[in-house]
Symmetry: C2
Subunit: 249 residues, 2 copies
């Protein structure tokens, strides 16, 4: 049991998979862990994980670290060493039974675990039947993924993928997506664009009585979105080029 911490000091949760039948699902979970920054995989009664089989085949780059460093353990050890969260598709309706109630959604769980200093284990059950009542009763928290009432039962690998995606901020300082702020056009650039467009309408001898309406239309269109500086520069370039070509004729 390692003790890795995210930047804010919250412990990065471990992932425990109980009694999985399908090596492919273990591989899928390992890949999602790697995609979202999780490292510690705990396996309770796992299927055989052949390095040439489906678990490694489905794990992507997690075959290099998450899968080979996974720890085989027991349900009792997970319960005694970790603050535990059990995942289930089947909740109780209300507070008359506390085996599967109260529950959190993954997003609520992400908020609750922010700043949680204890090591947490996210516990996923077997493919067909999930976690048994006796198991859930031993776990500290219950988490359920909101889904269609007509078919709320997710595949094990897909459920874990969604959970790890929602909890990624516990494990990742930052994501691969670059900051997008600096590229948006400033209000001043937008105004200069509209000025340019007005001049352009004059230049192409656009009917005078229609100019205000057309300028307003373009203002409304651009007003509904946030253009980038590049978009406006490009459009102004189109108008400049049109003017030059027009002037030459």
């Amino acid at each position: 049991m390692t003790d890795r911490s995210a930047e804010d000091g919250s412990a990065v949760p471990a992932v425990a998979v109980v009694d999985a039948e399908t090596p492919g699902n273990v591989g899928t979970i390992a890949r999602a862990m790697k995609n979202f920054g999780f490292e510690d995989l705990l396996l309770v009664d796992p299927p055989a994980l052949d390095p040439d089989g489906e678990a490694y085949g489905y794990a992507g780059q997690a075959r290099e670290d998450v899968l080979p460093t996974a720890t085989e353990t027991t349900f009792e050890a997970v319960v005694s060493e970790y603050h535990t969260v059990g995942f289930t598709a089947v909740t109780n309706e209300d507070g008359t039974s506390h085996v599967r109630f109260p529950y959190l959604t993954p997003r609520e769980l992400a908020e609750e675990l922010q700043g949680e200093g204890r090591q947490t284990a996210l516990v996923f059950g077997r493919e067909r039947t999930g976690l048994y009542n006796e198991e859930l009763a031993e776990l500290d928290r219950v988490c359920a993924i909101p889904a269609d009432p007509a078919y709320p039962v997710l595949n094990l690998g897909q459920a874990a993928t969604i959970a790890l995606y929602e909890l990624r901020e516990l494990a990742l300082g930052e994501t691969h997506l670059p900051d997008r702020e600096p590229s948006w056009a400033t209000p001043g650039e937008v105004e200069r664009f509209h000025d340019h467009f007005e001049t352009f309408l004059e230049h192409i001898e656009y009917p005078e009585e229609k100019r205000a309406k057309t300028e307003r239309l373009l203002r409304r269109l651009l007003g509904r979105t946030t253009p980038t500086g590049r978009e406006l520069t490009t459009l102004r370039g189109v108008m400049r080029k049109a003017k030059r070509t027009f002037d030459r004729e």
Copy 2:
């Protein structure tokens, strides 16, 4: 092309999968669609989907409807009939290239599509290489799932699962998770519990000088969470039973 609408009038997006190689991934996507209320699956150059093969094996209950009613179509038809959103792990850094910029995260996309009246298609690319630049250039919007900079490339089926989970409110009126509000204890119930505990301490002849401190400790503990009515009732039952047993001796 059906025209199903969610309760708020926004159109329920279709899902388009371009040039998938692995039938299992198509099945995984179909299952996620069924879990989150989506129905229309568009397949561009799909692999053969054998009813006894992996696509149907992975689809869960989606084998009954989403998969058999999937439409084989062309990329051009998707572009001309839908408002399109292309999914990619690889974005551009900034506004100097607009092939993969600006992009939305799935959560931002969910907000943007709320109230969108046009039919939208969520477009996913091939396993190894995703959507090509020439394809993304034809699509209206770009969406990227935030992930670990060290390994941001998700498996196709897992990426679609996360996207459909995030967009579920466009397709589902409600989820299977019951309303949890009514079960929480009211402030009055919490106070009655603390009164009961105070009486109980008296009754068990708990050292007088420690009572206030112990009561405060329990108040702080319960104050950090929201107990259900049932939890408090059960704990009060424990105290009542202890008192009865104590009285009998």
